[in-house]
Amino acid sequence: MHILKATDVYKKFQDTEVLKGISMQVDKGEVIAIIGPSGSGKSTFLRCLNRLETIDSGSIEIEGEYMVKNGPNGKAIYSNEKDIARMRLKMGMVFQDFNLFPHKSVLENLMMAQMLVNKVNPAAARETAMVFLDKVGLAQNGPNYPFELSGGMQQRVAIARALCMNPDVMCFDEPTSALDPELTGEVLQVMKDLAMENMTMVVVTHEIGFAREVAQRVIFMDEGIIVEQGHAEEVLLNPQQARTREFLSKVLMAR
């Protein structure tokens, strides 16, 4: 059963077409890695999935419900705000730059949306927060403020914060790109643990090693289209398309 389904998604920024007909679906429990050169539209596509960006045409379905679909004139028409808000809560999002709230402690970062959005009482919110802080290995850091933590720790807090909302699918937008190399491991480990627990995940990443190890399926995007997709091992070890081979050789050479 698919949790997420995008069909023929088109998106323009001013005159630049960044997504030219992207279709993909994510099944429950699946981990999908989206790779590709910068400017390929992979982050934009991920951001379209939870309406951080709006699409021009195409459709996006979440758990069988349309968040957006084409109207009779071929232009995308979004569902009403209330339904969209409900659908978006099924998706957790982790950003490249963590985007923790700097004026709130780690614990408050995790509790806030639970209380404001899900109307959970403070005690329960705190309990949930502690469960997920512990899960990302930061049970001791509840009272800290984000600036007191390393980048890797901040990103783990951001993951915990998203998990506190009990999402059905977690989206990661280059979660390790802003980190010093020695800090990426701890974040990737948390993500591996999540994958082990059958969390459905869509990960835009440059970490080919991670994609190979954790993802069941890899999507290679370039210039706004999906060039190649398939089983992780196949796409990464035996790419069929010249562009995929070129990209992979560049990325792997850089190591």
Binding site: N99, F101, A113, F147, A158, R161, A162
Partner: protein, 232 residues
């Protein structure tokens, strides 16, 4: 009046005792003037701080008519002298038959003027906040109002404290402009005494009063900045 006589009698005898006596006699009037100054200051302050936020949000609104109207407002009130606005509101309203007392006119003029300045300070503060903060709040499901009140505005406050302290210090000094519509505030008291007694001392006394008030403002903001230093 008797001071003038005393002055003539003392015949330029500027001994320490005389100046102290003189200042002591001046003090009640200076304090009365200061009370008016502070009353205008605080009334303007408590209104301009929230009104500025409202105006800044209007300025940043995606609704074109709203943002254009607020821009026009800001242009008018930053683009003309405060003194002129003061005269306009007090005398101008009188001409069209709306009579308000001097002090109310002063408060209205100051609030209208300072709100325009604060709106721009707040706007720059809001715009300096990383887009990622809005997005993080958005994906967590926070409403626009929750995002503003819990995430954006609290962070904005920390960033705008230094420019706001500038505005607040300007405000305490600008209150002296209300002499133009005949309100007897601190500087006017000093001026009356100086002219009447042909002495410079009242001006020095007034300067000290202003310096004490600005010192208190500076310290307050220093404390506020310290209080907001718990995060970066």
């Amino acid at each position: 009046m008797y001071r003038l006589t005393a002055f003539k009698q003392s015949a330029c005898k500027f001994d320490k005792g005389f100046i102290m006596d003189y200042l002591t006699s001046l003090l009640p009037f200076m304090l009365e003037g200061t009370a008016i100054t502070l009353k205008l200051f605080f009334l303007t302050l408590i209104m301009m701080l929230p009104f500025g936020v409202v105006l800044a949000l209007g300025r940043l609104s995606k609704l074109k008519p709203l943002s254009v109207t607020t821009q026009f407002y800001i242009w008018v009130f930053r683009g003309t002298p405060l003194l002129l606005q003061l005269l306009f509101i007090y005398f101008g309203l009188g001409i069209i038959g709306i009579n308000i007392d001097r002090f109310t006119a002063a408060v209205v003029a100051f609030v209208l003027n300072y709100t325009a300045y604060l709106a721009e300070v707040y706007r720059s503060g809001i715009q300096s906040i990383d887009l990622g903060q809005f997005e993080a709040a958005d994906v967590l499901g926070l409403s626009r109002w929750q995002t503003l009140s819990r995430i954006i505005l609290p962070q904005m406050v920390k960033r705008v404290l230094p420019p706001i302290s500038n505005e607040v210090i300007n405000l305490i000094k600008d209150t002296s402009l209300v002499y133009a519509i005949g309100i007897t505030e601190l500087l006017r008291v000093a001026k009356i005494a100086a002219v009447r007694d042909m002495l410079f001392v009242p001006f020095i006394a007034a300067a000290i009063f202003y310096l004490v008030m600005t010192a208190v403002i500076q310290q307050t903001f220093k404390w506020l900045e310290y209080r907001y230093a718990y995060y970066r």
